[in-house]
Symmetry: C3
Subunit: 210 residues, 3 copies
């Protein structure tokens, strides 16, 4: 319980930082930054909880999410000049958050008695929808549709969790392996510029008003 909870808070912090930095880059101000950080951090879990009818949803039932996000925004503001050049750090934060939320969402789905495949979708929803909401609100093409490895990493991570859960591996092993799977796949994909074929940004940009 305690390790899951810690990971959830770390994931929330990571996502809030990532949201705050995106919003800062867009020159949003304090409140805009807080809102984008909030949506990025709790949006995926919130959507998952609404879809499976789990109430109170994440941040309503536990005030620590809100505190974590506010601290993350403060942190981002204080160290922005040091963080912004470190786009690798931002990326790492984001990747850790994705791994943690994939794992948490899949487990929550299983605990809720959902079919394993639906639980996998819930893992992916938890991990990616915060970022999708962030991108919609800041009028960017959701990152997930440009760099599909992002979603693929979540899917593979969620399926890894299913298998580990099925063979009743120790809980901590389930958690760590799942998170590492997501993180490593994404790091490798970016390192070697792996992308699934057919994504052409320029074409996309030209066609966007069609």
């Amino acid at each position: 319980m305690s390790i899951i909870y810690s990971l959830d808070i770390i994931g929330t912090f990571s996502f809030a930082i990532s949201g705050a930095l995106v919003a800062s880059k867009k020159k949003f101000d304090l409140f805009g930054v807080v809102i984008i950080a909030f949506v990025t951090a709790v949006g995926g879990g919130m959507m998952r909880d609404v879809l499976i009818n789990y109430h109170p949803i994440n941040w309503i039932g536990d005030l620590n999410y809100i505190w974590t996000i506010l601290i993350a925004v403060l942190f981002a503001f204080l160290f922005k000049s040091k963080i912004l050049p470190l786009s690798k750090t931002l990326f790492l934060f984001d990747t850790i958050g994705i791994g943690v939320f994939t794992m948490l969402g899949t487990e929550k789905g299983l605990n809720f008695g959902l079919h394993p495949f639906v639980a996998v979708v819930m893992g992916v929803v938890s991990a990616v929808m915060g970022g999708v909401l962030r991108d919609v609100l800041t009028q960017k093409t959701p990152l997930i549709f440009k760099k599909e490895i992002y979603a693929l990493a979540c899917f593979i991570g969620a399926f890894t969790f299913l298998v580990l859960h099925h063979v009743k591996a120790p809980h901590n092993v389930q958690y760590i392996i799942t998170i590492l799977t997501v993180v490593i796949i994404r790091l490798i994909a970016v390192k070697f510029h792996l992308e699934l074929p057919k994504i052409k940004d320029d074409l996309f940009t030209k066609n966007r008003n069609n």
Copy 2:
């Protein structure tokens, strides 16, 4: 029951094809295409179920939606070169889906004991919100706001269903007449370039950052 269910699956397949083709046109890759197909196909029904608090929502309670969408995406990929030039086919798929979902959403609302007018709104929500979500995620102006006949066809279809339901017409008659009403209105509207006045795309495009 059986005929409704078949129609639901056909509508889901149609919408998934339509979503997959839009995403392909945008040069999204496999995962992006699957996600857009998914959102297009189940988005309207999902929103309806969340709004009326019907759980488990459509695709969580019945795995066949997910299978149907995956098969539709596979189908779209295999026959893309043959489907893409057939924009009329795409349009027909989309129109059938709209008719089916209008009918299903309105009936579900009535069965749920909602006021008939709210049931009509649920029919329209079921039919159009999948497409709206698809358009928001692919950064297009939602089609429904450009070609309003789309929504008008749903409204008229939903009201037709209300009347047929009120006079206790045989179920199959209710279903078929409602779907045909939506399909025919839309086909006529497009055939004769009927649009409600005042929509000017170029003006819209110029003003979009205002």
Copy 3:
């Protein structure tokens, strides 16, 4: 009860007018205008009710919301030529709606037994999410991120309500002071061009496809 309800209807009417005028400006047609008016007017309360699992949600449980919106759209169409030049009137409508919904959302959250801070967030959600949905659907950068005073006014209003509620001020006093707080802060902010620093529209526009 009666005064809250009247204020809710006034807020709904104000937001629907504001939504209808934005949609008219975009040259949307009747159905597009109705849909944007609808989403603007009930979107915030709808989101609040879904998040706190309050069912039936606002416009499903009470048909007066739909009637109010339809009358507002009719009103906007009939008097559009007179309303459109009056951008100050539009702004005032919008501001009153924001004040009313902030108050109603915060109170609903408190009555629902939520933590006061979560209740404040619910007040802000009720007040701003209708406008955010309107802006996303009409492909504008949500106003709230450009003119943050908007959100700040809601936050201060919601906290004012918390204090007045805590000291058990008479209900009507709670309502009026809260609404006036939001309205006055926003009016002052706009009058004196107060904005929180760092928002640069041109920069934002240039970067929007990044």
